[in-house]
């Protein structure tokens, strides 16, 4: 049942969902893989977004590392359902991935995409594919199937073209949104970003 070869699976079951997940097949990477990111976090508590810069690495399996090197140094590792967070000058914090459902959803979607595991995506999310800009540009909007998860997570948007992932947009239920620009796009993070500007950037990146 597990689709090891994503394109082959897609070919076998040409359903709507499989078709929607078609770009995912091209995104599969062999771990370990890493990319730089720039993240803007919009929160209802704040009148302007928080910006951080760093690298995101996937070490295979459900192991992910998010390293922030600016404006401060912070490393977050996710492994075996445990999150370990270390910020320079502070004690290391541990918490269960379970306590952070949206982080877990991000891990699930990202690992599924990077490993080409469309089954995992299908079991957890409703997905919807849009093509825009040039023919190669696409966005994949994932909404959680579980009602419990839906209470804290609105949706995850993956933006890319052909075989590249440019952006991850995570909308949490309370109106908080974080937008990660990946790879070369990270360098194009504005000094004072707005949701609209970043959204446009994600759709038009070429």
């Amino acid at each position: 049942m597990t689709c090891v070869m994503a394109p082959a699976c897609a070919a076998e079951t040409p359903t709507r969902t499989s078709a929607a997940l078609a770009p995912v097949a091209l995104l599969a990477r062999t771990p370990p893989t890493r990319t730089v990111f720039a993240e803007a976090r919009f929160s209802p508590l704040l009148d302007r977004p928080l910006l951080v810069y760093g690298q995101l690495s996937w070490e295979g399996g459900d192991r992910l590392e998010r390293h922030v090197d600016s404006p401060y140094v912070e490393t977050t590792r996710i492994a075996d359902g445990e999150v370990t967070m270390h910020r320079s000058g502070h004690a290391t914090r541990h918490f269960s991935l379970d306590r952070a459902p949206s982080l877990k959803a991000l891990l699930d979607s990202l690992v599924a995409v990077l490993s080409g595991d469309t089954t995992r995506l299908r079991t957890m999310f409703h997905s919807q594919l849009e093509r825009h800009g040039t023919d190669s540009g696409w966005s994949l909007i994932l909404t959680p199937k579980s009602a419990r998860l839906a209470r804290s997570l609105g949706r995850i948007g993956l933006y890319g073209d052909r075989d590249n992932l440019h952006c991850i947009m995570i909308s949490e239920a309370q109106g908080t949104e974080s937008i990660d620009l990946l790879g070369p796009l990270a360098a194009r993070m504005p000094a004072k970003p707005t949701r609209e500007a970043l959204s446009a950037l994600c759709r038009q990146a070429d």
Binding site: L46, E82, M85, R87, R93, F95, S96, R99, S152
Partner: protein, 773 residues
């Protein structure tokens, strides 16, 4: 003749049935070790008796669920915790699903008084700014989503600090919302209402826990592992009972065969059981009419000691002679039997005088039991036994055995030789003389010990052996002293004397500390000004922290939190078990984890002028056992004196009394010496078994000493004694093979005792030698 005999049997059985009814209606057997122990003398012993099994550590059950994927185990852990939280058998259930949002809303406003932040910081612009800058970084981190909804009312995260403070110091990892150990088992801590050393009530609690577990979805494939003092007491009780039952069945069969072989009459076998049944029921009936509760161990001791009574019917059965009626036979036998019964009863009076409730109950049971068995042997049994029987004097081989025994040399120096041997053996004996650790008599299987230490370290559960006791005049006094001792404990932790301590102040600071914290809370205007300054230039929206300002304002005027108020909250039980009112004051009980240097901890007592001190539960309970033994030994000394006087008076000759008492005494010491040389440390159970053996030995010596001048009667005496010895060896010799030390202790001691008493009472009896001359 036949009809009255039957009527009497029926009447007898009816009386026994009525007694049995009274007993079963009224007998309350307590399994709580407290009702068995002597009255405590030292402060530690008193505390132990109050707290034994009630201490927070000893009421903990360690629970692990395994055998399924983690997510399924997590669901089961949550389900089990939910079920147990509703069950009155349990006072606390902790499985890691600590959710600050769910933490009792009434405690929420108290966070600024409970958390230690204000001890070291002022809620001024500088502190707030530093906190808010950290919160911005938190928000931008993957943990941001978890905090976002809390920040407006708690930007300094006091609630998280409290949650951390209130979770076990070395809590296991949380996975899918519940604790997991390194092996991937879902683990939890459950505190029972029942005392940890009360197997009866623990069994009910564990039964309820298992039932709740089996009611969970998927429990069939999952495995439930339990550990902890309460669970152990249940396991040990069951194991001991199972083995005793199993051995008892085999020896019963042997006993029946022996009786049939000896008397060749099933009716003799059945009727011969009536006196001992009468004795046991008389003893129990007397106990229930005098005491509201009887301790299980007292009963076990009592039934052991009542074993002497099986001699009575055997003596009657063996001493029936051809041409004489049962009544005539028993009349000939009675003076001697009465001497034995009366002297034993008088001796047990010494136990009654000991003042120890357990020993008093033992004396009441044994004396009534012996009298019941003795009197029914004298007045009832002869009237119901069939008058046709086989005279045992004609038993094949018996005459030859008697002749052989009579020809054995009776050197006078045998007493000296045995005494010298006893002294040498006692001097050479390895190890300690006394075994004070009752737990050693019922050791746990290594597998359970291993599981316990594994789960204990995984859960960071406290040590069951040590408790830190904090005394005070009031609950506040205790809390104040706990607060004072905290830095000392911290120092000891750093020196490696212990891994951690949980003081009552972890949950509730003393009023003075709360008051000081409250006084440090800024008023609304000051806080608003500080916040405005702190948020200057930070991206927080204006008035985002209004709920925080309100919460601080509310905390400024809250009535301070007292233990009584705190105990209403979900965490209240935890505090209640650590803060106890006792006659003459209050005590705080702090649990300790990983005690490496008890001596250093004991030193706290001196540094606090006795206000705080280390309670070594093992040491205190061992000193109680030693005190108990001293009482038994004292009672025994008096009993021996009483026995000497009784026997002397009954036999009206010191020389004859010597012939009875000397072999009995020597044989008793010989058993002691042989056991000691074999490396056995003597426990209370050995002592009780020695007393039983001495009681049996008294019979052997009395009967062998009796000179009837009739070889037939001598043979009957030998027959009766041999049947008694063999039956005792059958019952207790089987126990000696048990794998459970407590059963082995009783079995081995009685078997050795019976053998030595038999041999010495023959070798030291006078008349065999007289016949030869």
């Amino acid at each position: 003749m036949r009809a009255p005999r039957l009527t009497l049997i029926v009447l007898w059985l009816l009386v026994l049935a009525a007694l049995a009814l009274v007993v079963t209606r009224n007998l309350r057997v307590s399994t709580d070790l407290r009702s068995f122990m002597p009255p405590p003398a030292t402060a530690d012993q008193k505390l132990l008796m109050d707290q034994i099994g009630n201490g927070p550590g000893s009421r903990l059950l360690l629970v692990a669920i395994s055998g399924k994927p983690p997510s399924a185990l997590a669901d089961m852990s949550a389900g089990l915790a939910a079920a147990l939280r509703k069950d009155p058998h349990f006072t606390q259930v902790v499985n890691g699903d600590f959710d600050p949002a769910r933490l009792s809303p009434e405690l929420l406003p108290y966070r600024y008084l409970l958390s230690s932040t204000l001890d070291t910081h002022h809620m001024d612009a500088g502190f707030l700014r530093e906190q808010l800058q950290q919160r911005l970084q938190d928000l931008a981190s993957p943990a941001g989503g978890m905090l976002e909804s809390w920040l407006p009312r708690d930007p300094t995260l006091e609630l998280l600090k409290l949650a951390k403070r209130w979770s076990p110091p070395d809590a296991p990892k949380v996975r899918d919302g519940v604790w997991f150990d390194a092996r991937g088992e879902a683990v939890m801590l459950v505190q029972t209402q029942a005392s940890g050393f009360d197997p009866g009530t623990q069994r009910q609690a564990i039964g309820a826990l298992r039932k709740a577990f089996h009611g969970l979805q998927g429990s069939r494939e999952a495995k439930l592992t339990l550990s902890g003092p309460g669970y152990f007491s249940v396991v040990i009780n069951r194991q001991t009972r199972d083995q005793a039952d199993w051995i008892g069945r085999i020896s019963s069969v042997g006993f029946i065969l022996l009786m049939l072989l000896a008397y060749r009459s099933p009716s003799a076998l059945l009727l011969g059981a009536l006196p001992i049944a009468s004795g046991a029921l008389a003893g129990l009936a007397m106990l229930v009419s005098l005491y509201p509760q009887v301790h299980g161990i007292t009963l076990a001791f009592g039934f052991t000691l009542l074993g002497v009574a099986q001699e009575y019917p055997i003596r009657l059965l063996s001493h029936r002679r051809a041409g004489a009626s049962n009544l005539e036979s028993v009349r000939g036998l009675w003076p001697l039997l009465l001497t034995a019964i009366a002297s034993a009863c008088i001796a047990y009076l010494a136990f009654y005088a000991s003042g120890v409730p357990g020993l008093q109950q033992l004396a009441v049971f044994t004396i009534s039991g012996l009298l019941g068995a003795g009197l029914s042997t004298r007045y009832l049994l002869p009237r119901v036994l069939p008058e046709r029987f086989v005279d045992v004097a004609g038993t094949p081989g018996l005459a030859r055995f008697r002749t052989f025994l009579d020809r054995l040399p009776r050197p006078r120096w045998i007493a000296l030789l045995v005494s010298a041997g006893v002294v040498v053996m006692l001097l050479l004996a390895p190890g300690r003389f006394w075994q004070n650790n009752l737990a050693k008599l019922t050791p746990l299987p290594a597998r359970l010990m291993h599981t316990d230490s594994r789960l204990r370290s995984a859960l960071g559960a406290p040590d069951v052996r040590y408790l830190l006791v904090i005394r005070g005049n009031s609950a506040q006094d205790v809390l104040r002293r706990s607060d004072q001792v905290r830095p000392m404990l911290r120092t000891l932790e750093q020196k490696g004397a212990l891994d951690g301590a949980e003081l009552p102040t972890r949950y509730l600071p003393p009023l003075a500390v709360q008051r000081a914290r409250q006084a440090r809370l800024p008023d609304r205007a000051t806080l608003e000004a500080a916040l405005a300054k702190a948020t200057d230039g930070l991206p927080f929206r204006p008035r985002v922290f209004a709920p925080f300002v309100d919460a601080v304002e509310k905390a400024r005027t809250l009535p301070l939190l007292t233990p009584a108020m705190f105990e209403q909250s979900p965490l209240g039980q935890r505090l209640a078990s650590m803060l106890v009112q006792r006659p003459g004051g209050w005590i705080g009980l702090a649990t300790l984890t990983g005690v490496h240097d008890p001596v250093a901890l004991a030193g706290l007592s001196q540094r606090t002028h006795g206000a705080v001190h280390l309670l070594d539960i093992k040491h205190a309970s061992e000193s109680l056992v030693a005190a108990y033994r001293t009482r038994i030994l004292m009672a025994l000394t008096v009993a021996v004196l009483l026995l000497v006087v009784t026997i002397g008076v009954a036999l009206r000759s010191l020389r004859r009394a010597w012939h009875v008492l000397a072999p009995m005494t020597l044989a008793t010491f010989l058993v002691l010496a042989v056991e000691r040389v074999a490396g056995i440390e003597i426990s209370l159970f050995h002592l009780v078994a020695l007393i039983l053996a001495a009681g049996l030995g008294l019979h052997y010596a009395l009967f062998f000493e009796r000179d009837t001048g009739d070889p037939q009667e001598q043979r009957r005496t030998l027959h009766a004694t041999v049947v008694c010895v063999l039956s005792a060896l059958l019952v207790f010799g089987m126990l000696a093979w048990s794998t459970i030390p407590v059963l082995r202790a009783i079995g081995l001691t009685v078997s050795l005792g019976v053998a030595f008493h038999f041999c010495l009472s023959i070798l030291m009896a006078p008349h065999g030698a007289r016949h030869e001359t």
